[in-house]
């Protein structure tokens, strides 16, 4: 494809494309701590953010990075951090704070092999359920995944938009392969990009209730210092932000947190289907594995097998409708993952029709190849 007027065709690495996406979405604050394979995001932003009047800071650890981006976002500036497994463990504490205080922010986790220090330079998808459930307590959250350099750009923009719109932290799960792959991508003109900014209050300060219910379920958000003095706390709070233990208020508040995501389901859930129209067998994949799956499906088609693929871009809230219809349509579904089967659990949950599910798991630090997936497509 060729770039048209105003667009740019450039060769980028996945991590670089995330930077481009973040800047295009309006990110002006980044706090991070170096870690392979995410460091390029920090390094490039340390160059680019000051150019656009933004701020880059390297904090003392990932706990601090997460605190700093929440602080900056509370002050009205779109913020992001990027890390990998060990750092992702550390951000969990303040991630919960962002959930309960409804502070928009984006967290990139470039997945590498774990547990612990694991395989720092190898690829894995072991943090999928952690991204959903890592911080304590029942909490709503959005988890997106990327499988290509161009998605690194577009999904990052989407992540910021969803975060601003629903006032919820959004996690982008990348992986070592996507992060370090170089591909040529076409970056759209800034005016072709849709950017959503959080809605700020229009009422006078004395009427402002920072956590009041409205028809969107997402309260308007005033920035610190804008004249709407209010209280922000990680304790469960009433609509004015003050701590409460009244069962009714507690229930109302927590229900609203969850409901705002449920209400936004159709906007949040993104999937891509490939050759699914007449598919009798399909692969459900995400991240770099979706690339291998795509190749495998093409190869299978060459051999006359009616194969298709569903790529999950949104991992949570789980795209149950699309998965459900794939399960009903196909006689077998193959789920390749670079973990022991974290998304396949979710797929099993949706599998009311009892369709045959074939897991394919690889945890040796290497990408699942097209031929591994093709073998399954042939055998069913």
């Amino acid at each position: 494809m060729e770039a048209s007027e105003g667009q740019k065709k450039i060769l980028l690495q996945g991590n670089e494309a995330i930077v481009h996406g973040a800047l295009a979405a309006g990110c002006r604050f980044f706090a991070g701590y170096p870690i392979t394979p995410a460091s390029e995001i920090s390094e490039i932003l340390s160059v680019k953010l000051p150019l656009v009047g933004g701020t880059f800071i390297q904090m003392e650890d990932e706990i601090a990075s997460m605190g700093a981006i929440i602080g900056a976002s509370l002050a009205g500036v779109k913020s992001m951090t990027a890390t990998s497994g060990p750092g992702f463990s550390l951000i969990q504490e303040n991630l919960g704070y962002a959930c309960i205080t409804e502070v928009p922010c984006v967290i990139v986790n470039v997945m590498r092999g774990g547990p612990s220090t694991g395989l720092p330079t190898n690829v894995a998808q072991g943090d999928v359920l952690m991204a959903r459930w890592g911080t304590h307590g029942d909490h709503p959250i959005i988890v997106l995944s990327v499988s290509s350099v161009s998605e690194c750009f577009s999904v990052t923009i989407k992540a910021f938009n969803l975060s601003e719109k629903f006032r919820v932290p959004v996690i982008i799960l990348s992986d070592e392969v996507v992060a370090h792959t170089r591909e040529s991508v076409i970056l759209p003109n800034q005016n072709e990009i849709q950017v959503f900014d959080r809605i700020t209050p229009s009422v006078p300060p004395e009427w402002y209730k920072p956590y009041a219910e409205n028809n969107r379920g997402v309260p308007d958000m005033a920035a610190v210092g804008d004249g709407y003095r209010h209280h922000v706390t990680g304790l469960v709070h009433d609509e004015r932000g003050f701590p409460t233990q009244q069962p009714k208020e507690v229930e109302q508040f927590l229900n609203r947190l969850h409901n705002k995501i449920t209400k936004g389901f159709s906007e949040i859930v993104m999937t891509k289907s490939f050759e699914m129209e007449d598919a009798e067998v399909c692969v459900i994949a995400y991240g770099s594995v979706a690339r291998s799956a795509m190749r495998a499906v093409k190869d299978a088609r060459m051999q006359g097998i009616k194969a298709g693929m569903v790529q999950l871009v949104t991992l949570f809230p789980f795209p149950r409708k699309v998965v459900d219809s794939a399960l009903r349509q196909c006689k077998a579904v193959i789920i390749p993952e670079m973990n022991m089967g974290q998304i396949s659990r979710e797929i099993h949950r949706v599998n009311q029709a009892g369709t045959r599910i074939i897991k394919h798991n690889r945890i040796d630090g290497h990408l699942i190849t097209p031929s591994e997936i093709l073998k399954h497509l042939i055998s069913v």
Binding site: I10, L51, T55, I57, D61, A75, V224
Partner: protein
């Protein structure tokens, strides 16, 4: 006096908040809150421009009651949030209120790095020698030999000197006060807020309920009076021997130095980046090189 107290009550307390507060009668936290409000009132700082961030603990509840932009963060992390707010909106006065456990145990790393980084932030640490909120376990400032719910046989570790820790970590301004010396505390807090750079005020305070009771230090009044007896002004302490200082502590300004404030340094970085970018662009234009990416 009464008049000023009334102005402060009306102007700065949150009257729409469900009082009462969570503090025990006689707790030093109230005196610190009062000193902070008087300092802000005296400096005539607009309420909209003040951000008060705190961690978790009895001390961490302080911002709940006062009418500023208040952020009750996670245990130990107040300074990390404060850092983000300050960098995003440098024009705001950012003040962090922390407990001794909050600032020097779980948040110890953030504390020394905030001091080293030297953003224009004020840190107030209420040192009551214990984890008040969780029921009186030993903290990094619990004195050697003291009893706590986790050192019933006497504490075998040694205490941090918070103010001195801040000095060596690189803070621009460090002072210590007590809840007995309330006026002095107000002055120390004013100086800390006015000071450009990272400034720290350690406040020696009483938790008679958890720490005092277990160590037979008396009631709130007796504990607060003991601060009067044991506090030695910094100047006077210089002429005293270590033996003279046994069981005592210094109050006043421990350090006040000028160094580049990183809130402003970040502006310099932005300018440097932009100058460099236009230089490269000019060079490319001159040499006829097409810019393929900015």
């Amino acid at each position: 006096m009464l008049e000023r107290a009334e102005i402060i009550r009306q102007e700065y307390l949150r009257h729409d908040k469900k009082f009462p507060h969570v503090w025990c009668p006689g707790c030093g936290n109230g005196i610190v809150m009062n000193a902070l409000l008087r300092a802000i009132h005296h400096l005539e700082l607009p309420k909209d421009n003040i951000v008060l961030a705190s961690g978790i603990g009895c001390s961490g509840r302080l911002p709940t009651y006062v009418d500023f932009n208040t952020i009750h963060t996670t245990h130990g992390r107040a300074l990390t949030f404060a850092t983000g707010v300050k960098l995003a909106k440098p024009q705001l006065s950012v003040i962090a209120v922390m407990g001794d456990g909050d600032a020097t145990a779980i948040g110890g790393n953030h504390f020394i790095h905030a001091a080293r980084r030297n953003l224009n932030i004020t840190a107030i640490i209420i040192n009551n020698n214990t984890y008040g909120m969780t029921g009186g376990q030993y903290s990094p400032t619990t004195p050697y030999g003291s009893k706590s719910t986790t050192s019933v046989y006497g504490h075998v570790e040694h205490a941090f000197n918070i103010a001195e820790l801040a000095v060596v970590a690189g803070a621009s301004f460090v002072a210590r006060g007590t809840v007995y010396h309330a006026n002095h505390l107000n002055t120390m807090i004013q100086q800390a807020i006015v000071k450009k750079g990272f400034s720290v005020v350690e406040v020696i305070s009483n938790c008679h309920v958890q720490h005092g009771r277990r160590n037979k230090l008396g009631n709130a009044v007796q504990m607060i009076n003991s601060f009067k007896e044991n506090a030695v002004p910094v100047g006077k302490a210089e002429g005293m021997t270590a033996a003279d200082m046994q069981g005592k502590f210094t109050i006043g300004v421990l350090c006040d130095v000028e160094k580049p404030v990183s809130t402003e340094e970040y502006d310099r970085v932005r300018q440097a980046a932009q100058t460099e970018a236009s230089r490269i662009a000019e060079e490319k234009a001159k040499n006829g090189v097409k810019r393929y990416e900015e």
